[in-house]
Symmetry: C2
Subunit: 196 residues, 2 copies
């Protein structure tokens, strides 16, 4: 059974794409990031409320504030990457319901009146969008280095407000020398899929 997606595109997005640990010096432009967003903004989220918010860390000053919050090992990668993005989720995403789900704005209060419910939804749907973003970077010919190993509360205090929670920090660029190790194994289909 073959896929409809052509093999070259399969390779670009999944089979040959790898998490990069080193990058070349080639800069990553805002135009590239806009092209990625223009593609992955269509990825589905609950009630189309797409809670992901992104902070692009471009200045030397901001990079210097971010790096100390990264776990050992991640810090040096984040210090060296051409561009770093903080992917955060907005726990007040429901405020956009009338714009994003205009035919049924009542879902705002029917589903999202309580902050704990909103936070769970923001974390889950924001995570979906993190994955779309990684796929989108690859679609742009870029390599991603996604990391969850950092001081989340430290990054929140440094870069976000109380309504936003960091989910992932992503190093972005063209893969450099020895950018990755050999592929690790995956669990076989029959161990992760059951049928009832």
């Amino acid at each position: 059974m073959s896929l409809l997606l052509p093999p070259d595109a399969q390779d670009l997005l999944f089979r040959e794409a790898r998490t990069a640990n080193t990058f070349t010096d080639e800069p990553v432009s805002d135009a590239q990031l806009r092209a990625v967003h223009d593609l992955v903004k269509y990825g589905p989220t609950a009630f189309n409320l797409a809670p992901l918010r992104t902070v692009l860390v471009r200045s030397t000053e901001a990079r210097a504030r971010l790096v100390p919050h990264m776990d050992p090992g991640n810090d040096t990668k984040t210090a060296a990457a051409p561009l770093v993005a903080i992917l955060a989720t907005d726990c007040e995403f429901h405020e956009e319901t009338s714009r994003l789900f205009p035919h049924a704005p009542g879902v705002r209060d029917a589903y999202f009146a309580e902050r704990p419910v909103r936070e769970d939804s923001a974390r889950f749907n924001g995570a979906l969008q993190c994955a779309y973003f990684i796929v989108g970077l690859r679609a742009a010919g870029l390599a991603a280095g996604p990391m969850t190993g950092f001081d989340h509360e430290g990054v929140r205090k440094e870069f976000l407000d109380g309504d936003h929670l960091p989910l992932m920090v992503v190093n972005i660029g063209r893969p450099g020398p020895e950018a990755w190790h050999p592929r690790l194994p995956r669990l076989p289909y029959d161990e992760v899929v059951t049928t009832v």
Copy 2:
């Protein structure tokens, strides 16, 4: 700025792809699901521990057990779809560390000794894999109808054990008549991306 991914593939995965609410009667084969898995298994997760576990609901008996747990509106779609998958996450994913991260099996105890930490990681990384799965279905020419609107504890008790938490139920098939409404708006780039 154009993407490296060809326009037809952009359309297949994101621009023209839509959440389907109706499906044709065409069955979805195990071979198709295996091809999807063989592609999206490469999507990155923390420490390569890929916690997603999938239950394919194929039998009439199992479908009858699932439908009552779906929220109103979702229930009729789930009753009618050619195939339904329960995407769950395994909170004991760390037990596979020696197989999936064999060069550093110590991360099992260093990071994942405590259940609450494992559950957070399982939910986040499982959500990433839900998104890869949706993209993978589209790569196979299938439409996805992902839903989080169901009785999660009811589905867990009916289909899973205490180590597994349901994240999403996905209706799967070829889009049927009036499968979707017109595209909803997205927030513009400058509202969701800031630069520091």
